[in-house]
Symmetry: C2
Subunit: 199 residues, 2 copies
């Protein structure tokens, strides 16, 4: 296996890490490019050699975070063999994420409305990915005979609905005090999803 990471690629990541830490600690506005530069031990101008601007850097950070999350989700799903297990794994991770976001939210607070559109765009993108994942899980479950037969559009509809229900990238406004946190309640939810409340 040849070295996959060229030198500059390494610095690119180093900047990203430093920016992530600072952004999530002080928020977007209160983090200056100088701060980031100092954190990686470089001059401010140098950053502009790697990223075209503060906005691009911020977007890169968020995108990277989302990629990590999606990766974790995919790993967890692959470790489960049954579709039901996959569904549970997905929802569990999704809820943990919600919790993490909840903690982060204090900081962002002010930045939210300034970068409203941008955040919406990213959020929408993330939702699309999640819907796709659910669709895969359910399709798999139908094919393997674990779930009942469903036409493609019904699967799509179910996926969208589930994500709508569990929230996309939750903004820091959820008053509901994290209703569902433990694994046992998650089991109940999956039971509802699987068998409903009908007779």
């Amino acid at each position: 296996m040849p070295e996959l990471i060229p030198k500059d690629e390494l610095l690119l990541r180093e900047i990203l890490e430093a920016a992530r830490e600072l952004f999530s600690k002080h928020g977007l506005k209160k983090t200056t490019m100088d701060d980031v530069a100092r954190a990686v031990g470089k001059g401010k101008s140098s950053l502009y050699y790697y990223y075209t601007g503060k906005t691009e850097l911020f977007e890169a950070v968020v995108q990277d975070e989302l990629k990590k999350i999606v990766k974790n989700i995919r790993i967890a799903i692959n470790e489960e063999s049954s579709s039901t297990g996959k569904l549970k794994a997905f929802l569990l991770l999704r809820l943990q994420l919600k919790e993490r976001m909840h903690n982060l939210s204090q900081v962002i607070h002010d930045d939210i409305f300034d970068n409203f559109k941008e955040i919406c765009r990213i959020r929408a993108e993330f939702e699309t990915i999640q819907i796709e994942i659910i669709r895969e899980i359910v399709s798999g479950g139908v094919q393997s005979g674990e779930f009942r037969e469903m036409p493609a559009d019904e699967i799509g509809f179910f996926s969208s609905w589930t994500i709508a229900a569990f929230g996309g990238l939750e903004l820091p406004l959820s008053t509901t005090p994290l209703l569902i946190a433990d694994k046992s309640s998650l089991d109940k939810i999956v039971d509802f999803i699987l068998f409903g409340i009908g007779k």
Copy 2:
């Protein structure tokens, strides 16, 4: 039937109506007590004879709106005989409400973070009521044999979950472009709730 509305009760309502109209048109901050007073053809000081302050007036308006909504929901539910029908009726109204709120949201926008706590409190209260309604519906359905047997705590859990999913008082941040609007898709959702996707 004797006259249920004393004189001052009438003026109380008149002020409430005027305030509601102004608040929802210009938002909380941009609506002055003078505006409200002018709208009812009285001096500003007079308002303080009926409401102790601007905050109380605002809360009264919101509370009144919520009461109206709850009333509508209860009426719609009573018109349905089956529990399934009741459930559908509830969710349909809940979605229409979401849509209405969505339109209103442009105006509030700025006021939200100022009155964050207050809004949260009201929202929480509304959620409690909704959960109670769902619980009633499901309990009824279980008793009548329309739904499967469920212990009380499971019904409570299901109710909370449904409301969490459908959102309490939606704050104007839903990017999902009102995924579910028509009655046919609602039928599908209720099917999911009733029978799930399991085999």
